[in-house]
Amino acid sequence: MDATVTAVGLGTLLGALARLSMLRVDYRQYPSYPQAYVIHLTLGAIAAFLGAVAIPALLAKDFAAGTFLSLAATQFREVRNIERETLTRIESTELVVRGTAYIEGIARVFEARNYIAMVTATLSTGGFLLADAALNTLPAAVLASACVGAVCIFGLSRAMRGLKVADMATVRPAEIEFDGPTLVVAGNRLMNVGSEAAREKYRTEALAVVIEPKDPNAKATLANTGQRQALAHNAAALLGVKKDVDTPEFTPIVRRNIETGEVNLVLIPAERDMDALLRAVLDTPVLEGAYRRPLAARAARMVD
C-alpha cells in the first residue's frame, strides 16, 4: 500500500480516537445518549480525515487542499451552534437551569474537541511521513505515528482541562438561619421565605456553603451570575434537588456577599451529604466566559 494512504489512514484513526477519548459522560451529564455519540464521533472522524490529508496534500504541492481546512473550521463552528441551540432549547425543561454562560462554555468545548481531533490527525500523519522518509520501514513509521498521536491526545486533552472552582476558592460548610422570614447564611441575607412550612424545610433539610475567593481575580469571576448559575446547576445535578416546577422557593440560591465578595450557596438536596456538596462545588468548572483577571492590570493591583 502507498505510504501516503497508510499515513492518512493512520492519522484519521488516531484523530478519531482522540475524539473518542474525549467522548464520555462526564459530570456535566452531557452528552449521554447514543444519538449524540454518533453525531460527535462522525464529526470527529471527518475532522480527523481533514487534518490527516493536510500534510500529504502539501507534499503533493496541492495547496488548494489547504482551503479545505478553512471549510473544516466553518463546519466546527456549526458544531458549536448546534450544541448551543440544543442546550438552549432544553433549558426550559431543566429544574435548575444551566444558564447561558455555562451553555456557551459547553458549546465551545465541543467545538474545540473537533480541532483536537484534527490537530492530532495532522501531527500523527506528519510523524508517520517523517519516520517513513528517515527510516524507510513501515513498523517504525507506524510506531512513530502512534507515539505522536498518543502524546497529542494526552497533552491536548490535559491542556483543555481548564480551571475549577477549587483552584480559585475555598469552600466551607455554613449554618442556615432565619431572621424573621429572611434566610441568612454566614451573615449574608439571601432571600425572603414567606411560608413557615418552607422555612421549616430549609431548617431541617437544606445545606449551605460559603465559597471564599482566594484573590481579586477569583472574586471577580465568582461575581459573574453565569458562574454562579453553573454552581447551582452542578450542585443540583449531582446531589439532586427537592424541588418541582410548582415549588420555586426551593430553587437553589447562590448569592454574593457584597461586602466580602464571598458567595453563599443554599440548596435542598435529595441526598443530604455535605461532603458531596463540597466536592460538587469544588469541581465545578470555571467558565471561560466568566473568568476575569483584573490583577493583570495595574489599577487593580493598586487596590489589592
Binding site: P181, N192, G194, S195, A197, D246, P248, E249, T251
Partner: protein, 63 residues
C-alpha cells in the same frame, strides 16, 4: 414558546386587609394559620414563591 410573567406580584394573602390597596388579587385570611394555608395553595397553583412583607401580608411572586 411559553410566555410567563417574571418578577411580578401575582397575588396577596393578608390578615390586614386595610393595608392592601391595589389591583392585585387579594385574599383575606382570618388568622396566620389560614394565611399560611391559602398562600401555600396559591403558591403551587400559580407556581409562585411566597414572601413575607412583615406587615401581615404575604405576596406571591413569579420569579
Amino acid at each position: 414558546m411559553e410566555v410567563d410573567i417574571k418578577r411580578e406580584i401575582v397575588a396577596v394573602v393578608t390578615v390586614a386587609p386595610d393595608r392592601v390597596v391595589g389591583a392585585v388579587p387579594t385574599f383575606l385570611a382570618a388568622d396566620d394559620a389560614e394565611r399560611e394555608r391559602i398562600a401555600s395553595s396559591l403558591a403551587v397553583i400559580l407556581r409562585a414563591a411566597v414572601h413575607d412583607l412583615g406587615n401581615g401580608a404575604y405576596v406571591l411572586v413569579k420569579h
